[in-house]
Structures are given as C-alpha cells and as structure tokens.
Amino acid sequence: MLDGEAYIIKCAVGGDSSAFGLLYDHYQPKIYRFALVKVSHREEAEDLTHQVFLKAWQNIESYQDLGFPFSSWLYRIARNHVVDYYRTKKITESIEDIDPKKTPVEHSVHSNLLEKLEIERVKNAIGKLKPEYQDVIIMRFIEDLPIRETALALDKSEGAVKLLQHRAIKELKKALSGSIQD
C-alpha cells in the first residue's frame, strides 16, 4: 500500500492528475503482471494495462472509499477487461497449446537465461490453470496481497479464497511436473 494512499486517492477523486499519476506509478507494475500472466502476450498485456488505468481515471469519481483497498478496485477492473478480452478476441490458438518457446522472453531485468526460461515455464504453467486459480495465484503469491484484499478483488469470501489457493497450488504442481516431463 502506498504511503498516505487515502489522501492521494481523495485528491485523485477530486481530479488531481498528479495524484492519479502516483497511483499509476505504484499499481501499474502489479496490474501489468496480472495482465501478462493472464494473456501471455506482452503487447496485449500492455494494451490491457493501459485500458484498465484509463478506465480507472475516467471513472475515479465513482470510487468510494468504503474501507476496500484501491488495489482491489483496480484488480476488479482488470479482471473484467481480461474477461472481455477473451470474449471478443477470436482465439485461433488455445492458451494450452501455446509453445513456451514461442512466447517472448521477458525483459532486461532477468539477466540470467536459465532464470528467464524458468520464469517462462512457471508463467505458462499458470496459464494452463482455470481463470480463478490464476487470479488467486497471482494475487496471493506474486503480488503478496492479503487474503482479505484478494477476497474483495475476487468478490469471494476469505474461506473461499483459502480453498481456491489450496486447489490452485495443487493444480500448479501438476502443471509444472507436466511441463518438466515435456
């Protein structure tokens, strides 16, 4: 959470673009990672991230601080955009059929080639999971969101999130062991 986030959000709701800029800087990497793991394509993840923040900025007046974290609001918008993306896009290639070798190896941050390949393998294994398992894994283990915040973002109870988390890890194990055998 951003320092003084409540005040920054208040300013942004009032139309202060620099305040929204701060929120963008803080949350953009998280939303981008979420989008990238969900769609597996860098350009499309960038487009989705842009659309999420554009929508958030255009509708920030409707955001009400009811004790919910701002990130859960953003994740909700992101989830809706991902759903729309898969609904409208003609998928000529199933996500499960994507060859890890075809997907671009991410960024300059990862200097070690082996590490890059490992990241790609994990990312592709997540891509094979059900959407709600993907959401839980990204939010709980990649973004380290607390259970309450994850539950709010996914519109589920905390108990349901714990259950989903357990099942998601179990499925991810299977997917990763399958990718090793391949």
Partner: protein, 163 residues
C-alpha cells in the same frame, strides 16, 4: 515442493512493463481525462430537473386522475336528468300495458262472439281465418249461432276492435 513453487512464483515479481510504454501510457491516460465544461454541468442539471418534473406530473396524474375525470369526462354522470329517465321508463311501461290491453280487447271481443264452450278455439280461428273466404263463412255461421242479441260479422268485429 510447495515452497519451491512459491519461490518460483516470487520470481515473477521481477516482471516489469517496458519503460517507454509506461511513460507513454501514463501521459496519455492523465491527458485523456474529460474536462467538465459549464455546459455539461448545466445539461446534467436540466436533465435532472426534467426527470423530477416528469415524475411529479406522473404522480399528480395518478392521484388526481379520478377526480379530474368527473369534470373532464364527456359522460358527465353527475348531470344526469333523472326525471327524464323516469318519464322514459314510465312511457315504456305504458306502451307495454297498452299492448296487453289491446290484446285483451281482441280476446274479449272474440270471446263475446263465441259463447259456447265447444268453440273455445274460435278466437284463434277467427283471427287466423281472416284471410280465406271459406273460413269466413264458417266463422260467420258460428257468429250467427251465438245467443247474443247483436250479431256481428268477422269484418265488423275486427273494425270495432281496431277502433
């Protein structure tokens, strides 16, 4: 095993968007905010006012509709002429009575021309037999055989009745 997976997942935290994309996107998003114009605010207020006015009219129409109908209705039930209606109803009754009276007169006249119990059906015969000569004769004989002092033919009886 589970810890290994979680460690691997943590490595994904290193994924970042392209810096150039981030800068461009940031500038575009912040610049894309719609500025609220005065006309927009006025239009929104007008829309709100119109919706309230329409809602008010609807409520007034529903609540006052029945009472207004009494004045606006072309039927105007409150202005009904009851005496006229009564007179009309009485006139209808009179006509019925007259019809019955006329029938009774006819029946009485015929009965008077056929005194015997044997000729109970005579009025019917006379009435129906008015069209043929043969029957006229038959009824004529019947009439002459009656004990009454005044002897009437069928035609005469009918003329009397019609008077």
């Amino acid at each position: 095993m589970e810890e290994d997976i979680i460690k691997q997942l943590k490595k994904l935290q290193g994924i970042e968007a392209d810096k150039r994309f981030t800068e461009q996107s940031r500038v575009l998003i912040i610049g894309a905010r719609k500025q609220k114009s005065i006309w927009g605010v006025i239009l929104k207020n007008v829309e709100l006012g119109t919706s309230f006015a329409l809602a008010g009219i609807l409520v007034i129409t529903i609540l006052g509709g029945f009472s207004a109908w009494r004045f606006l209705s072309p039927l105007k039930l409150s202005n009904l002429d009851t005496t006229g209606l009564k007179a009309e109803a009485q006139a209808v009754d009179i006509q019925i009575q007259l019809t019955n009276l006329r029938y009774d007169e006819i029946a009485g006249a015929v009965e008077s021309t056929t005194p015997s119990a044997e000729s109970k059906n005579a009025p019917v015969k006379i009435w129906a037999g008015n069209t043929s000569r043969g029957q006229q004769k038959e009824t004529g004989t019947l009439a002459t055989s009656s004990p009454s002092s005044e002897v009437l033919s069928i035609d005469e009886a009918l003329e009397k009745l019609s008077e």
